[in-house]
């Protein structure tokens, strides 16, 4: 006890101010250590911390769940602060845009008036088409689409970093946001929920490198994958080589991956070079402020256990046409190989036709055609002929938004 008091009495200097006088031993906090040990410990800090960071790197890589939990906990803590910081920014930008618009009031008024006249015409078209659609659906005993529930959240953080594009919204599982939900900006598809915290959710935007979205091209009726590449315009890849995307055509989501509903508007096709089509998204991905997160529950609809379904293991037989062009035949899971190579096994086709009827409402989420689409249809009537003949599902099905909260 005397020693402790004596030391405190002797020097009120902090413990790191080591003078040669008391090199033999002094107290630092509670533990008396010599200057040599102290210097050695000081030198150990850096390697120890480096090792610790490597350990964290490996642990975070091996156990993603802990990493995600840590990140979302941080985001939960920081999101109220971020929304506080962002609020004056929003107000300022709104005030600035208001000031800007004052200058063009007369011009804007004239523009709005002409647009209004135009839209009134479209309104009549929309009303009549809606009624026609409703009648047709009633006649067809159309299965009503499940109404998606949605949550609207404000973007409170740009959590992308250098190599990814993501935003944080101030709505989480407490508000009904789940991992895999679809986030829409006012004008189009923005991204998907990848992680959720308590009161916040991270949304991976469609232009992130990790984003791959199956899309449908409306005019050319082709399918493609929209792959983000960290630029503002995601690329289109894996489109059919005999059916290239057409400049300016609309891109909507296709329900193929069973993750997204069909027909959410994404953007338009644009060729930056010959042979490299990109999508110009409708959503302004750099200036997202409010996002609606939809829960479509697409995962809940599973194909029924049809009695005619061919089990994967039992079809290790010769095909109906007798040909054996696949060298892997007979030595692998036949069904898997045949499905992958596009040759349906015997007995597969009729069953598919049977189930087509029940799949229809799921893959086609038509509610109401936008007048705009109708216009496009009129322009591309030639494309419709084969479709209507074969009676297949029209890819023009448009996703109908619930009214947006923001223009």
């Amino acid at each position: 006890m005397d020693f402790r008091e004596g030391a405190a009495w002797q020097d009120s200097l902090p413990c790191f101010a080591v003078l040669p006088v008391n090199a033999a031993g002094k107290t630092c906090g509670m533990i008396p250590v010599s200057i040599q040990i102290r210097q050695a410990l000081d030198r150990l800090w850096l390697p120890a911390m480096l090792l610790l960071s490597i350990a964290i790197m490996l642990l975070g890589w091996a156990n993603q769940r802990v990493t995600v939990a840590a990140r979302m906990a941080t985001a939960d803590v920081l999101s109220p602060l971020w929304s506080l910081v962002a609020l004056p920014g929003h107000e300022i930008s709104e005030a600035v845009s208001e000031l800007h618009s004052i200058g063009h009031l007369a011009h804007e008024n004239a523009q709005l008036r002409s647009e209004n006249e135009n839209l009134r015409g479209w309104y009549d078209v929309a009303v009549s088409l809606t009624q026609e659609n409703a009648t047709l659906k009633e006649n067809l005993h159309w299965m009503p689409d499940p109404l998606p529930s949605f949550v609207t959240g404000r973007v409170v953080g740009d959590v992308g970093g250098l190599y990814s594009h993501a935003v944080l919204i101030n709505a989480g599982p407490a508000n009904g946001v789940r991992v895999g939900d679809v986030a829409l900006a006012a004008d189009g598809f923005a991204g998907r929920v990848t992680e959720t915290g308590e009161h916040s959710a991270r949304i991976l935007l469609i232009n992130d490198v990790a984003s791959r979205i199956p899309v449908l091209l409306e005019s050319s009726h082709g399918t493609a994958i929209m792959a983000g590449d960290n630029s503002s315009t995601p690329r289109l890849i894996f489109y059919a080589q005999d059916n290239h995307p057409v400049e300016g055509e609309r891109v909507v989501t296709s329900g193929q991956a069973d993750l997204l509903p069909t027909g959410i508007p994404v953007g338009t096709v644009h060729y930056i070079h010959a042979g490299t089509p990109v999508v110009i998204p409708y959503a302004r991905l750099n200036h997202l402020s409010i996002l609606r997160v939809f829960n479509f529950e697409t995962g809940t609809i599973e194909s029924p256990d049809a009695p005619g379904r061919v089990p994967v293991t039992s079809s290790r037989s010769v095909r109906s046409d007798g040909k054996k062009d696949n060298p892997l035949d007979g030595m692998t899971l036949g069904g898997v190989v045949e499905t992958a190579t596009g040759h349906p096994p015997a007995g597969y086709q009729p069953q598919r036709q049977d189930t087509q009827g029940s799949e229809k409402p799921e893959s086609n989420r038509t509610n109401e055609e936008h007048p705009q689409n109708q216009n496009e249809d009129d322009n591309t009537q030639g494309d419709h002929q084969p479709l209507q003949k074969s009676g297949s599902i029209m890819p023009h099905s448009s996703f109908s938004f619930p009214p947006a909260g923001r223009g």
């Binding site: 902090p14 101010a17 930008s93 953080g157 250098l162």
Partner: protein, 197 residues
Amino acid sequence: MREHVMSSDPHSHPQSHWHPDVRSAPALAQRLDRLAMRLLPGGLTALAAVLLAAPTGIPGAIALIPGLAMASVFFWSVWRPASMSVPVVFCLGLLLDLIGFAPLGVTAFVFLLLHGTAVHMRFGLMRLNFVTLWLAFTLLESCVCWLLWFLVSALSFKIMPTAPVIFECMLTAGIYPPFAALGNWAHRRFSNPEPQL
């Protein structure tokens, strides 16, 4: 002046004639002051990183965060390592990883390397004039950016685009002069918590 304390005082030692509280009070304040001085640069950098991550509408605000942090780590490591100690650098890197959704620990690792290099070459760097020091920083931060790119690519099994790395290198080099001007002012204004050997 020693004080004779009442034996009823619960804080004093029964046999001691010395009142510890009287003496340790200024020492405690001093320690707190020094602790604040030690944590101030790191804390301000962390605050700036958190604020820049908010959607303020500043273009390139996200790219600014690692640049600002690197300039801060380098500047304080060279001029005042006591204010930018190893744990502070580590925590700063980890915070950036958590905010930026980079693989956890990567930024902490490269920042520690930057700090270690800067501290190691400290006395050589302090003798340089500003432009040479700036060039040295540009070289170091470019290495750090590319190492970060390599680590992120390796940990995600995917070659990340290189354009952001080049942008980041240039942005960080551009941030340094204004940051150094601000840092120099703070360096002169606030007392040094470093051991005076």
